[in-house]
């Protein structure tokens, strides 16, 4: 059950090999996966003419790094998830990148991505356990709830003496929800140090930039003041930075404090005309736009 599923190495190796040729080679592998996932994202959203490409594209490196490199996962899927690292997606609207990653890493056939948002699909608009899709442990979509759930899962791990980690991703706009700050207050008080929270710090939400809509101000200072160990990944769309940053985050776990990673990402990253705007938060490309998007992202693992 503890056979890990990863491309090249365990955590220690990574640090031994940092900056080595092998490392660059491996990073390249991850990047290769990322372009395929970007293709999947735009194709999924295009097919049903709905869904959220912007945040999905911006988090592609993160998902690839987590699932193909950083997380210690068991083979197969069981709901309990003991003795493996867990991931929760709180900002459920970026389901395309989640589904594509889960498929590409082996939880279910990539062909199933074609059913995204269609009736009777296991790939609902927002992730759900209701249809039994492997890889999903909680429904999300209504924002603000995932950090609490992740804390609960982390505390369950503790009770079971399971030393693995719990990861959770939130949107930056999502941080405007008060429940996040309830959870943010709770975790340090309870020294939840098997938890790594990640903020998709793309500066955008539906109605515009977070700066305009409701500024998060000094976000580093906020998490810090709430008692978290805060870490920034300055280029969240550079695979090396993301892997490095996540490694750093995991190395800071188990120090009596929860860790939060501010992942500076770019909404729409990897598709030129989707970048630099919030407009692609939840809009689908037309045929022409799809073609343009695909032209910028090589087919590497084979389209579904």
């Amino acid at each position: 059950m503890l056979s890990f599923y990863r491309i090249t190495r365990n955590r220690q190796d990574y640090y031994n090999m940092k900056n080595s040729i092998l490392n660059n080679y491996s990073i390249h592998n991850l990047e290769t996966i990322a372009t395929q996932i970007r293709r999947d994202i735009v194709r999924m959203v295009h097919a049903c003419q709905s869904g959220h490409p912007g945040g999905s594209l911006g988090c592609t490196e993160l998902f690839v790094a987590l699932y193909f490199e950083v997380m210690n996962r068991k083979e197969g899927f069981d709901m309990g998830g003991m003795h493996e690292d867990l991931f929760f997606l709180s900002n459920g609207h970026i389901s395309p990148v989640f589904y594509s990653t889960l498929a590409r890493v082996g939880y279910f056939p990539a062909e199933e991505l074609a059913t995204f948002r269609q009736m009777n699909s296991r790939l609902q608009g927002h992730p759900t356990t209701h249809e039994g899709l492997p890889g999903i442990r909680i429904a999300s979509g209504s924002l603000g709830q995932g950090l609490s759930v992740a804390i609960g899962a982390a505390q369950a791990k503790r009770l079971h003496g399971d030393k693995h980690l719990v990861f959770v991703l939130m949107g930056d706009g999502e941080l405007q929800e008060g429940q996040i700050w309830e959870a943010a207050l709770y975790a340090p008080h309870n020294k939840i140090d098997n938890l790594i929270a990640i903020v998709d710090y793309n500066g955008a939400q539906i109605d515009g930039s977070t700066e305009q809509v409701l500024s998060l101000g000094n976000l580093y200072a906020k998490w810090h003041a709430f008692g978290w160990d805060v870490l920034e990944i300055k280029n969240g769309n550079d695979m090396i930075s993301v892997v490095d940053g996540l490694r750093e985050a995991t190395s800071r776990s188990r120090r009596q404090k929860p860790v939060v990673v501010l992942l500076h990402s770019e909404m729409g990253n990897g598709v030129d005309f989707m970048m630099g705007t919030h407009k692609w938060h939840g809009a689908a490309p037309n045929d022409e736009q799809l073609a343009a998007a695909l032209a910028q992202n090589a087919e590497t693992l084979g389209d579904y």
């Binding site: 009736m119 009777n120 927002h126 759900t128 405007q176 809509v213 409701l214």
Partner: protein, 318 residues
């Protein structure tokens, strides 16, 4: 069967957007709040016309309800805007204490109600919002049926004193009510007089009820059809008058069968005039992703379902 026709279809939320603009023109105390869903709520025209009377709240629905309550203290008439789910279940306690119990003049405008927002799936499809809001003492609950009626309802609601829950949707649906209608809160609209069965429908199901009425006519069944745009206060009189005549009833709503319009009617009848009733509603399940039309079909929220229910209830007449 009276004929209803239409040339244009539109989403009811656009009726809200148009009504809000008009209400804003009529009364400078009308203000609007939105929790990062301006486009979905069709608030753009209002914002363009009255930028100083709009409050962007961000993704913080609880805070929005509290701020709206506070604004009324200064005499403002705030319309809050977000999806129906986040307008009700997300903020039930805030509405309860700061608005309903405090008797504040807040208008809760809720888009994407029911199944028909479609592809986003169950987390965004609330089927319990009518039930949630109708349990609050003093709350008025309104679910208009098309663009024109939603616009008229919005304007009426702005003039009404007291908390209101105004529910509307995303899909385009036929516009068959009059552009210049007067919207009377709490007053049922008689769409067709008939003698064999009473069909009481609300929201998107009203058009389906009309379709059903035509098919029933072909089957020799003469249906009385009531558009009950206001679920609370319920127009008891109109319903009783009709059921006294027809002795059986079908209710139709885009809502869980538990807690919605159907239960309001059942309570009324059980206390005064017990009669066979069939529910056209979602059978106590969550929704799912799909196109609006697919979902209405799968979850039995259409004219055929109403026809079936009528045929069943008629055989149950006492």
């Amino acid at each position: 069967m009276k004929k209803y026709t239409y040339t244009v279809s539109k989403d009811t939320r656009s009726g809200f957007g148009a009504g809000l603009l008009e209400a804003g023109r009529q009364d400078e105390n009308v203000v609007a709040l939105c929790a990062d869903l301006i486009g979905s709520l069709k608030m753009n025209d209002f914002i363009d016309a009255f930028p100083d009377r709009f409050f962007q709240i961000g993704i913080a629905e609880a805070n929005m309800m509290g701020i709206a309550a506070g604004l009324t203290i200064g005499g403002k008439i705030p319309f809050t805007g977000t999806f129906a789910n986040f307008s009700t279940g997300r903020v039930y306690d805030q509405i309860r204490q700061s608005i309903a119990y405090s008797d504040k003049n807040v208008k809760i405008a809720a888009s994407h109600a029911g199944l028909t927002l479609g592809e986003d799936g169950a987390t965004h499809q609330i089927l319990e919002d009518i039930g949630l809001m109708k349990m609050l003492p003093g709350m008025t609950v309104i679910n208009p049926c098309d663009y024109n009626q939603t616009k008229a309802a919005t304007i009426a609601v702005a003039k009404h004193r007291g908390p209101v829950y105004l529910r509307f949707g995303r899909p385009v649906v036929p516009i068959f009510t009059a552009e210049d209608q007067v919207f009377e809160i709490g007053k049922a609209v008689m769409l067709n007089e008939g003698k064999d069965v009473t069909i009481i429908a609300t929201g998107h199901l009203v058009w389906e009820a009309i379709q059903a009425g035509e098919r029933l006519e072909a089957l020799g069944i003469d249906a009385e059809i009531i558009n009950i745009h206001t679920i609370k206060p319920l127009d008891d009189e109109a319903i009783l008058r009709s059921v006294q005549k027809t002795r059986c009833v079908v209710t139709a709503e885009e809502h869980n069968r538990i807690g919605g319009l159907g239960d309001s009617v059942a309570q009324l009848l059980s206390k005064t005039l017990p009669a066979p009733q069939e529910y056209v509603a979602v059978d106590d399940s969550f929704g799912e992703s799909g196109t609006p039309a697919q979902l209405m079909d799968k979850y039995g929220l259409n004219a055929s379902a109403i026809v079936d229910a009528v045929q069943k209830v008629i055989t149950r007449k006492m």
